[in-house]
Amino acid sequence: MASHDHDHPHDHDHDDHDHHHDPHAPQKDHDSGPADPHEVLEQALRELLIEKGVLTAGEINAQVDFMDTRSPALGANVVARAWTDARFKQRLLADTRVALAEMDIDIGSLADFRTVENTPETHNVVVCTLCSCYPKLLLGIPPAWYKSTAYRGRVVVDPRGVLDEFGVKVPDGVDVRVHDSTADLRYIVLPMRPPGTDGWSEKKLASIVTRDTMIGTAIPKVTEKTAARAARGKSAS
C-alpha cells in the first residue's frame, strides 16, 4: 500500500477531511424553512384559544412540559414493582388504573389502561393499526417506528417475522398474541422477570425494563453491564 500511495498523484489520506469544512457551521434551526400545513393549523388554533381566553399560553406550555416529562422510566418502575410484589401484580392485571393510582400515577380520563402479562406460554406485542394509540402516560412519546406504516401493517400479519427483526425469537410452543389497540384502551406489556435477578432491588430491576420490553418488541435481559451496575448498587446500599 505504501508504495502505491507514494506513486499516486492524489492524496488518498482522508485524515484531514474535516479541514475542508467549517467546524463551527451554524446549527440549522429546527423551525427553519416554511411551516407545513399542520404547523400553521396548530399555530392558528393555539392563538385563537389564547385570544378567546379558553387557555393561557402558560397552561399550554405546562401541559407540553408535563407530557415531555413522561418517560419509559415510569412504566419501568411499575414493572419492577409487579416483579417484586405479587399482590401489586394481581391488582395491576385486574385493574391497572387502580394499581397505578397506588403509585401516584393518574392516567386521567382520555383512555383506560390494560396490562397484559407475558408468560412462558404467551408473548404479547402491542400495536395500533388505525393510528398510533400508545400508553404515553407510562411510556412517554412513542418511537417513530411505532407510528410507521411498516410496523403497523406488518406486525398483525407476521408478528414473528417482525419480532425476529427486533431480535426477539419467540420459540414454537409459545403463542404470540398481538393486541391491536383499536379503541379506548391502552396496553402495556408486563414482561417476564429474567433469571439472574434474584435479590435485586426494585430500582435495579427497573434499570433493565426498557420501553420496547413494555411494547413487546424486546425481552428484558441481564447483560454483564446491567449485572455489574446492579452489583455496584447492591454493595453501595
Binding site: 388504573r97 383506560d112 393499526t129 388505525l130 398483525v156 400479519v157 407476521d158 408478528p159 414473528r160 417475522g161 414454537d172 410452543g173 403463542d175 404470540v176 398474541r177 398481538v178 393486541h179 391491536d180 389497540s181 383499536t182 379503541a183 379506548d184 384502551l185
Partner: protein, 102 residues
C-alpha cells in the same frame, strides 16, 4: 369494566363466538378493515365508552356503546399465516359491529 355507565345490558359475554360485521363505514371508525367478516371469541366486556363514530363529528357519542375484547386465531384472519395456528390477535370492538354466529 370502565368508561361510561353501561346503559343497556351487554349483548355478548365472554366465550361467545362473534362475527365482525362486514359493512363499509364512512369516516371515522374503529373497526379495522382486516377484521371485518372475521369470526372470533369475546374474551372480555371492556365497559362502555362514548361512540367514537359520533364523537369524531362533534356529537355527544351518547348513548355509550359497549366495548368488547375479541380474540381471533391468526389463521382465521390470514389464510396464509405462517406462524403456529395457536397464535392470536386481540382487538377492541364496539357492540354495533358484532354479530352472533348462531
Amino acid at each position: 369494566m370502565s368508561g361510561e355507565p353501561v346503559h343497556s345490558a351487554p349483548r355478548f359475554k365472554p366465550g361467545d363466538a362473534v362475527r365482525i360485521d362486514d359493512r363499509a363505514a364512512h369516516g371515522h371508525c374503529r373497526t379495522p378493515w382486516y377484521l371485518r367478516g372475521k369470526t372470533g371469541v369475546v374474551t372480555e366486556v371492556q365497559g362502555a365508552f362514548r361512540d367514537p363514530e359520533r364523537l369524531a363529528y362533534h356529537r355527544s357519542g351518547l348513548p355509550p356503546q359497549v366495548l368488547y375484547k375479541v380474540r381471533f386465531a391468526q389463521p382465521d384472519i390470514w389464510k396464509t399465516y405462517s406462524g403456529p395456528s395457536t397464535d392470536q390477535l386481540e382487538a377492541d370492538i364496539y357492540e354495533p359491529w358484532l354479530q352472533s354466529t348462531t
